[in-house]
């Protein structure tokens, strides 16, 4: 009995690793995440910029939080996702894992850079300077460098199989290191805390302030899911371009056209 369960689990696992299965099942997911992201982001953007109340201390610059915090959150989550993909890729040699890493990189780099940029734009009116060596800022900057390291490594290796393994290894090592780096930076930060009030540990935000943040965060996550999955689907098409299932997938409309002629 248990043997049957494990064998069916194994089958599921193989299915999960099959590019074709992935391509077919994610067709609807991409659509779902895309529509959700569009709705949530539209609502969140308008809510954040026009309807959320201004902060009594920071005034309207507080609204930057609605784009800054989700960008930082998703930038970090994407790296964690890459670490998981790296683990799967290293242990089970799953091809799809490298597709996932390659697809996560551009958006991860973009969102982490965006978090740094919007943080700096937020810092100018609240802290009075474009850049403070604050704990979170440093952690985010290091995260950006970790992303760029993997990107540079992938660019440097020509063989696709070895590139996949190297990228998987580095994302795994980076993910293991993130908590250590974060902790040490926080420790360092308490030694010489800059003279500023904390941005995130506010005395209990009222719901009309955190609800738009929640909507924005969900929107960003949906957007990330949509973007990464679309990139993965394109990469699958590129890698499997010569296989039969891809051929058949794109044969149907073309064949009907040629019979019409």
């Amino acid at each position: 009995m248990s043997g049957r369960i494990t064998s069916s689990l194994k089958q599921l696992w193989h299915k999960l690793g099959s590019p074709r299965w992935f391509y077919e099942i994610t067709h609807n997911w991409v659509r779902f995440f895309g529509v959700s992201a569009l709705l949530l982001l539209t609502v969140g953007f308008i809510w954040g910029i026009a309807f959320a109340p201004a902060d009594y201390q920071q005034g309207n610059s507080f609204r930057i939080m609605y784009v800054h915090v989700p960008a930082a959150m998703v930038g970090q989550s994407l790296y964690l996702g890459m670490g998981v993909a790296g683990f799967v890729g290293l242990v089970w040699r799953m091809k799809l894992a490298d597709v996932a890493i390659a697809a996560t990189l551009p958006l991860g780099i973009g969102l982490t850079a965006l978090a740094l940029f919007s943080g700096s734009v937020w810092g100018r009116p609240t802290w009075g300077s474009w850049w403070e060596w604050d704990g979170r800022t440093v952690s985010t900057l290091v995260l950006l460098f970790l992303y760029l390291g993997i990107y540079a490594l992938r660019e440097a290796i020509a063989d696709s199989n070895l590139r996949a393994r190297a990228a998987a290894l580095v994302s795994l090592v980076g993910t293991v290191n993130i908590p250590v780096i974060k902790y040490s930076v926080d420790w360092w930060n308490t030694l010489h805390q800059p003279a500023s009030f904390s941005l995130t540990e506010k005395p209990a935000m009222p719901p009309e302030m955190w609800l738009p943040l929640l909507v924005m965060a969900l929107g960003f996550y949906c957007f990330a899911a949509h973007n990464v999955l679309s990139r993965m689907r394109l990469e699958v098409l590129r890698r499997e371009g010569k296989t039969r299932w891809v051929n058949e997938l794109f044969a149907a409309p073309a064949a009907s056209q040629s019979t019409e002629r």
């Binding site: 460098f145 490594l153 190297a166 290894l169 580095v170 040490s184 030694l191």
Partner: protein, 220 residues
């Protein structure tokens, strides 16, 4: 194990440049720093300890490239991964020998560096202790990057990009320890964290280096 270490040591000593050149870099950059910023000699100067650790990080990075390079070029690395019945131990021995030629050597040179930087002699021993505890983490973490980039003809910039972010905790705790020593405060707390960094690196880094070496050998 002993034979392994002996072999590694002899091989390293034969290529003296890989050990001496980084050390020259360290001394020279301290000279440059002292000229660019005369305040560095000032005992109360906060720059001192940070300059110290940043330079050690960079020196360590410079010497990393040589860690596997020669064996990689000669094919001995492939042999080692295939034939050694405990590649893990062999890799650990290699990292240890690298540490002897980088971390330990810098530690032994602390009195000289201290004189150049104007440290009081009673600070030498605590600073040496800090270096002794912190530098193994550098060799261990660095070995991952060295193993990954050994197949590249120009791996230097990528090695830096991969490894320097990982060095950050060592820099923070090491820097805090030296700063505490210099200002005469208790330095046990950062030292314990530093020791923790080194021991975590000791348990995890060799596995990653092993995996990285297997990739690099296949690239050849």
């Amino acid at each position: 194990m002993k034979g392994l270490l002996q072999r590694e040591l002899v091989a390293t000593l034969r290529t003296r440049g890989s050990v001496i050149n980084p050390l020259g870099f360290l001394l020279l950059s301290i000279l440059l720093f002292a000229i660019a910023d005369p305040g560095v000699r000032d005992e109360q100067s906060k720059d001192l300890s940070s300059v110290f650790w940043v330079l050690i990080l960079l020196t360590n990075m410079l010497s990393l490239d040589a860690m596997f390079r020669r064996d990689f070029d000669s094919g001995a690395l492939e042999q080692m991964l295939i034939s050694a019945h405990m590649p893990f131990v062999a890799i650990l021995a290699r990292i240890f020998v690298h540490w002897l030629g980088s971390g330990l050597l810098i530690t032994l040179f602390v009195p000289l560096l201290g004189l150049l930087l104007g440290l009081r002699p009673e600070m030498f021993l605590p600073i040496m202790l800090v270096l002794l505890v912190g530098t193994p983490a550098l060799s261990l973490l660095g070995s991952i990057g060295a193993a990954l980039t050994v197949g590249f003809s120009r791996g230097g910039a990528i090695l830096a990009l991969l490894i320097l972010p990982l060095f950050l905790p060592v820099l923070i705790f090491g820097n805090a320890s030296v700063a505490a020593v210099v200002s005469g405060q208790a330095y046990t707390a950062p030292l314990v964290w530093l020791a923790l960094c080194s021991s975590v690196a000791l348990t995890l880094a060799p596995w990653a280096t092993w995996a990285a070496l297997k990739i690099s050998v296949e690239m050849q």
